[in-house]
Symmetry: C2
Subunit: 146 residues, 2 copies
Protein backbone atom coordinates (compact mmCIF):
# COMPACT_ATOMS: atom_id res chain seq x y z
CA UNK A 1 0.00 0.00 0.00
CA UNK A 2 1.21 3.49 -0.80
CA UNK A 3 0.85 6.76 1.01
CA UNK A 4 -2.56 8.34 0.61
CA UNK A 5 -1.06 11.54 -0.75
CA UNK A 6 -0.03 9.73 -3.93
CA UNK A 7 -3.24 8.44 -5.52
CA UNK A 8 -1.96 5.14 -6.83
CA UNK A 9 -5.41 3.73 -7.28
CA UNK A 10 -6.46 6.82 -9.13
CA UNK A 11 -3.59 6.42 -11.56
CA UNK A 12 -4.48 2.79 -12.09
CA UNK A 13 -8.13 3.56 -12.78
CA UNK A 14 -7.21 6.59 -14.83
CA UNK A 15 -5.32 4.30 -17.17
CA UNK A 16 -8.21 1.90 -17.09
CA UNK A 17 -10.61 4.65 -18.06
CA UNK A 18 -8.33 5.73 -20.86
CA UNK A 19 -8.28 2.13 -22.08
CA UNK A 20 -12.04 1.71 -21.76
CA UNK A 21 -12.84 4.99 -23.44
CA UNK A 22 -10.37 4.11 -26.16
CA UNK A 23 -12.00 0.71 -26.60
CA UNK A 24 -15.47 2.19 -26.50
CA UNK A 25 -14.48 4.80 -29.06
CA UNK A 26 -13.00 2.18 -31.33
CA UNK A 27 -15.96 -0.15 -31.14
CA UNK A 28 -18.42 2.66 -31.42
CA UNK A 29 -16.71 3.95 -34.54
CA UNK A 30 -16.55 0.43 -35.95
CA UNK A 31 -20.24 -0.04 -35.23
CA UNK A 32 -21.13 3.20 -36.96
CA UNK A 33 -18.98 2.32 -39.94
CA UNK A 34 -20.50 -1.12 -40.45
CA UNK A 35 -24.00 0.27 -40.06
CA UNK A 36 -23.21 3.01 -42.56
CA UNK A 37 -21.75 0.42 -44.90
CA UNK A 38 -25.11 -1.37 -44.86
CA UNK A 39 -26.52 1.80 -46.39
CA UNK A 40 -23.62 1.82 -48.87
CA UNK A 41 -22.18 4.88 -47.22
CA UNK A 42 -18.69 5.55 -45.93
CA UNK A 43 -18.26 7.15 -42.50
CA UNK A 44 -17.70 10.67 -43.83
CA UNK A 45 -20.62 10.32 -46.24
CA UNK A 46 -22.94 9.26 -43.42
CA UNK A 47 -21.66 12.10 -41.23
CA UNK A 48 -22.28 14.62 -43.99
CA UNK A 49 -25.84 13.42 -44.49
CA UNK A 50 -26.46 13.44 -40.78
CA UNK A 51 -25.37 17.09 -40.53
CA UNK A 52 -27.51 18.23 -43.43
CA UNK A 53 -30.47 19.40 -41.36
CA UNK A 54 -31.05 22.33 -43.70
CA UNK A 55 -29.58 23.69 -46.96
CA UNK A 56 -25.93 24.21 -46.09
CA UNK A 57 -23.16 25.99 -48.02
CA UNK A 58 -20.21 23.73 -48.87
CA UNK A 59 -18.04 25.76 -46.56
CA UNK A 60 -20.33 25.18 -43.60
CA UNK A 61 -20.39 21.48 -44.36
CA UNK A 62 -16.59 21.46 -44.18
CA UNK A 63 -16.86 23.28 -40.86
CA UNK A 64 -19.21 20.69 -39.43
CA UNK A 65 -17.12 17.79 -40.67
CA UNK A 66 -14.00 19.57 -39.47
CA UNK A 67 -12.12 18.95 -42.66
CA UNK A 68 -10.78 21.08 -45.48
CA UNK A 69 -13.34 22.43 -47.96
CA UNK A 70 -11.55 20.70 -50.83
CA UNK A 71 -12.51 17.32 -49.39
CA UNK A 72 -16.17 18.18 -49.35
CA UNK A 73 -16.14 18.53 -53.12
CA UNK A 74 -15.28 14.86 -53.55
CA UNK A 75 -17.61 13.53 -50.88
CA UNK A 76 -20.48 15.54 -52.30
CA UNK A 77 -19.59 14.48 -55.84
CA UNK A 78 -20.09 10.85 -54.85
CA UNK A 79 -23.31 11.52 -52.97
CA UNK A 80 -24.65 13.65 -55.79
CA UNK A 81 -23.86 10.99 -58.38
CA UNK A 82 -26.09 8.67 -56.35
CA UNK A 83 -28.86 11.24 -56.26
CA UNK A 84 -28.80 11.72 -52.49
CA UNK A 85 -27.86 15.41 -52.43
CA UNK A 86 -28.04 18.37 -54.78
CA UNK A 87 -25.99 21.54 -55.22
CA UNK A 88 -27.99 24.76 -55.59
CA UNK A 89 -26.46 28.13 -56.37
CA UNK A 90 -27.64 30.65 -53.81
CA UNK A 91 -29.77 33.37 -55.36
CA UNK A 92 -28.24 36.29 -53.49
CA UNK A 93 -24.59 35.24 -53.88
CA UNK A 94 -23.64 33.16 -56.86
CA UNK A 95 -20.36 32.09 -55.27
CA UNK A 96 -22.21 30.01 -52.71
CA UNK A 97 -23.52 26.53 -53.42
CA UNK A 98 -26.03 25.22 -50.98
CA UNK A 99 -26.28 21.53 -50.40
CA UNK A 100 -29.75 20.03 -50.03
CA UNK A 101 -31.04 16.50 -49.60
CA UNK A 102 -33.13 14.94 -52.34
CA UNK A 103 -36.20 12.90 -51.48
CA UNK A 104 -34.11 9.75 -51.49
CA UNK A 105 -31.48 11.61 -49.47
CA UNK A 106 -34.03 12.35 -46.78
CA UNK A 107 -34.99 8.69 -46.62
CA UNK A 108 -31.35 7.71 -46.17
CA UNK A 109 -30.92 10.46 -43.59
CA UNK A 110 -33.68 8.98 -41.45
CA UNK A 111 -31.98 5.61 -41.55
CA UNK A 112 -28.63 7.16 -40.64
CA UNK A 113 -30.20 8.95 -37.70
CA UNK A 114 -31.69 5.68 -36.52
CA UNK A 115 -28.24 4.11 -36.25
CA UNK A 116 -27.15 6.10 -33.21
CA UNK A 117 -30.52 5.65 -31.56
CA UNK A 118 -30.31 1.91 -31.96
CA UNK A 119 -27.25 2.02 -29.71
CA UNK A 120 -29.44 3.29 -26.97
CA UNK A 121 -30.29 0.12 -25.13
CA UNK A 122 -26.84 -0.23 -23.66
CA UNK A 123 -28.24 -2.58 -21.05
CA UNK A 124 -28.34 0.17 -18.44
CA UNK A 125 -31.15 1.09 -16.06
CA UNK A 126 -32.57 4.61 -16.06
CA UNK A 127 -30.56 5.69 -13.05
CA UNK A 128 -27.41 4.15 -14.48
CA UNK A 129 -28.01 6.02 -17.70
CA UNK A 130 -28.42 9.30 -15.84
CA UNK A 131 -25.24 8.72 -13.87
CA UNK A 132 -23.32 7.74 -16.99
CA UNK A 133 -24.48 10.88 -18.73
CA UNK A 134 -23.25 12.99 -15.82
CA UNK A 135 -19.86 11.32 -15.78
CA UNK A 136 -19.47 11.39 -19.53
CA UNK A 137 -20.23 15.10 -19.60
CA UNK A 138 -17.67 15.72 -16.91
CA UNK A 139 -15.11 13.57 -18.71
CA UNK A 140 -15.86 15.36 -21.97
CA UNK A 141 -15.05 18.68 -20.36
CA UNK A 142 -11.47 17.46 -19.92
CA UNK A 143 -10.98 16.99 -23.64
CA UNK A 144 -10.19 19.80 -26.07
CA UNK A 145 -13.32 20.97 -27.94
CA UNK A 146 -11.87 20.19 -31.37
Amino acid sequence: MYAASIPTMAVASAEQIARLVSELARRFAAYLDTQAADLHLTGPQAALIRHLDRPLPMKDVAGRLRCDASNVTGIVDRLESRGLVERRVRAGDRRVKELVLTGEGRRVQRRVAAIAERLSGLELSDSEQSRLIELLEKALSALPPA
Copy 2:
Protein backbone atom coordinates in the same frame (compact mmCIF):
# COMPACT_ATOMS: atom_id res chain seq x y z
CA MET B 1 -18.04 10.35 -37.09
CA TYR B 2 -21.18 11.83 -35.70
CA ALA B 3 -23.12 14.69 -34.20
CA ALA B 4 -21.34 17.41 -32.32
CA SER B 5 -24.28 19.00 -30.59
CA ILE B 6 -25.64 17.81 -27.29
CA PRO B 7 -29.39 18.18 -26.78
CA THR B 8 -30.33 20.77 -24.19
CA MET B 9 -33.27 18.74 -22.89
CA ALA B 10 -33.19 15.06 -22.41
CA VAL B 11 -35.80 12.76 -21.05
CA ALA B 12 -34.75 10.27 -23.67
CA SER B 13 -31.45 9.56 -21.94
CA ALA B 14 -30.71 6.54 -24.11
CA GLU B 15 -30.42 8.74 -27.15
CA GLN B 16 -28.46 11.26 -25.12
CA ILE B 17 -25.98 8.59 -24.12
CA ALA B 18 -25.63 7.59 -27.74
CA ARG B 19 -24.83 11.21 -28.59
CA LEU B 20 -22.43 11.65 -25.69
CA VAL B 21 -20.59 8.44 -26.39
CA SER B 22 -20.48 9.43 -30.03
CA GLU B 23 -19.12 12.84 -29.12
CA LEU B 24 -16.64 11.36 -26.69
CA ALA B 25 -15.50 8.87 -29.29
CA ARG B 26 -15.08 11.60 -31.88
CA ARG B 27 -13.11 13.89 -29.60
CA PHE B 28 -11.07 11.08 -28.20
CA ALA B 29 -10.10 9.93 -31.67
CA ALA B 30 -9.33 13.52 -32.70
CA TYR B 31 -7.21 13.96 -29.60
CA LEU B 32 -5.26 10.77 -30.26
CA ASP B 33 -4.72 11.76 -33.89
CA THR B 34 -3.38 15.21 -33.11
CA GLN B 35 -1.11 13.85 -30.40
CA ALA B 36 0.15 11.17 -32.78
CA ALA B 37 0.70 13.82 -35.44
CA ASP B 38 2.98 15.64 -33.03
CA LEU B 39 5.15 12.53 -33.15
CA HIS B 40 4.88 12.54 -36.95
CA LEU B 41 2.76 9.41 -36.82
CA THR B 42 -0.60 8.66 -38.41
CA GLY B 43 -3.27 6.99 -36.31
CA PRO B 44 -2.64 3.48 -37.66
CA GLN B 45 1.12 3.93 -37.28
CA ALA B 46 0.70 4.94 -33.65
CA ALA B 47 -1.69 2.05 -33.06
CA LEU B 48 0.78 -0.40 -34.53
CA ILE B 49 3.61 0.86 -32.33
CA ARG B 50 1.37 0.76 -29.30
CA HIS B 51 0.55 -2.89 -29.90
CA LEU B 52 4.15 -3.94 -30.43
CA ASP B 53 4.79 -5.12 -26.89
CA ARG B 54 6.95 -8.00 -28.17
CA PRO B 55 8.27 -9.30 -31.49
CA LEU B 56 5.12 -9.90 -33.49
CA PRO B 57 4.59 -11.66 -36.85
CA MET B 58 3.06 -9.41 -39.50
CA LYS B 59 -0.07 -11.52 -39.46
CA ASP B 60 -0.57 -11.01 -35.74
CA VAL B 61 -0.09 -7.27 -36.20
CA ALA B 62 -2.89 -7.31 -38.77
CA GLY B 63 -5.03 -9.19 -36.28
CA ARG B 64 -4.43 -6.63 -33.59
CA LEU B 65 -5.09 -3.71 -35.91
CA ARG B 66 -8.10 -5.56 -37.29
CA CYS B 67 -7.16 -4.88 -40.88
CA ASP B 68 -6.05 -6.96 -43.83
CA ALA B 69 -2.46 -8.20 -43.76
CA SER B 70 -1.70 -6.40 -47.00
CA ASN B 71 -2.16 -3.06 -45.28
CA VAL B 72 0.41 -3.89 -42.66
CA THR B 73 3.07 -4.15 -45.32
CA GLY B 74 2.68 -0.48 -46.22
CA ILE B 75 2.38 0.80 -42.69
CA VAL B 76 5.46 -1.15 -41.66
CA ASP B 77 7.34 0.01 -44.77
CA ARG B 78 6.88 3.60 -43.69
CA LEU B 79 7.83 2.94 -40.08
CA GLU B 80 10.84 0.91 -41.12
CA SER B 81 12.05 3.62 -43.49
CA ARG B 82 12.10 5.90 -40.47
CA GLY B 83 14.04 3.39 -38.45
CA LEU B 84 11.35 2.80 -35.85
CA VAL B 85 10.75 -0.89 -36.51
CA GLU B 86 12.63 -3.80 -38.04
CA ARG B 87 11.59 -6.99 -39.83
CA ARG B 88 13.34 -10.16 -38.70
CA VAL B 89 12.91 -13.52 -40.37
CA ARG B 90 11.98 -16.12 -37.78
CA ALA B 91 14.66 -18.76 -37.39
CA GLY B 92 12.34 -21.75 -37.23
CA ASP B 93 10.04 -20.73 -40.09
CA ARG B 94 11.44 -18.57 -42.83
CA ARG B 95 7.99 -17.57 -44.02
CA VAL B 96 7.38 -15.57 -40.87
CA LYS B 97 8.71 -12.05 -40.37
CA GLU B 98 8.69 -10.77 -36.86
CA LEU B 99 8.36 -7.10 -36.26
CA VAL B 100 10.49 -5.57 -33.52
CA LEU B 101 10.98 -2.03 -32.29
CA THR B 102 14.37 -0.37 -32.71
CA GLY B 103 15.87 1.67 -29.90
CA GLU B 104 14.34 4.80 -31.38
CA GLY B 105 11.10 2.88 -31.84
CA ARG B 106 11.00 2.09 -28.14
CA ARG B 107 11.48 5.76 -27.32
CA VAL B 108 8.57 6.68 -29.60
CA GLN B 109 6.50 3.87 -28.10
CA ARG B 110 6.90 5.33 -24.63
CA ARG B 111 5.69 8.68 -25.89
CA VAL B 112 2.73 7.05 -27.63
CA ALA B 113 1.82 5.20 -24.45
CA ALA B 114 1.98 8.46 -22.54
CA ILE B 115 -0.71 9.96 -24.76
CA ALA B 116 -3.51 7.80 -23.44
CA GLU B 117 -2.30 8.21 -19.88
CA ARG B 118 -2.35 11.95 -20.23
CA LEU B 119 -6.06 11.68 -20.82
CA SER B 120 -6.31 10.16 -17.40
CA GLY B 121 -7.13 13.09 -15.21
CA LEU B 122 -10.53 13.58 -16.74
CA GLU B 123 -11.38 15.84 -13.81
CA LEU B 124 -13.03 12.97 -11.98
CA SER B 125 -12.63 11.93 -8.36
CA ASP B 126 -11.53 8.42 -7.47
CA SER B 127 -15.05 7.21 -6.79
CA GLU B 128 -16.34 8.85 -9.93
CA GLN B 129 -13.63 7.09 -11.91
CA SER B 130 -14.58 3.74 -10.39
CA ARG B 131 -18.23 4.29 -11.17
CA LEU B 132 -17.47 5.42 -14.70
CA ILE B 133 -15.39 2.29 -15.26
CA GLU B 134 -18.27 0.13 -14.11
CA LEU B 135 -20.76 1.85 -16.36
CA LEU B 136 -18.44 1.91 -19.35
CA GLU B 137 -17.82 -1.80 -19.01
CA LYS B 138 -21.51 -2.48 -18.88
CA ALA B 139 -22.14 -0.21 -21.87
CA LEU B 140 -19.32 -1.91 -23.75
CA SER B 141 -21.00 -5.26 -23.31
CA ALA B 142 -23.89 -3.96 -25.41
CA LEU B 143 -21.65 -3.35 -28.41
CA PRO B 144 -20.54 -6.06 -30.84
CA PRO B 145 -16.99 -7.27 -30.06
CA ALA B 146 -15.69 -6.22 -33.49
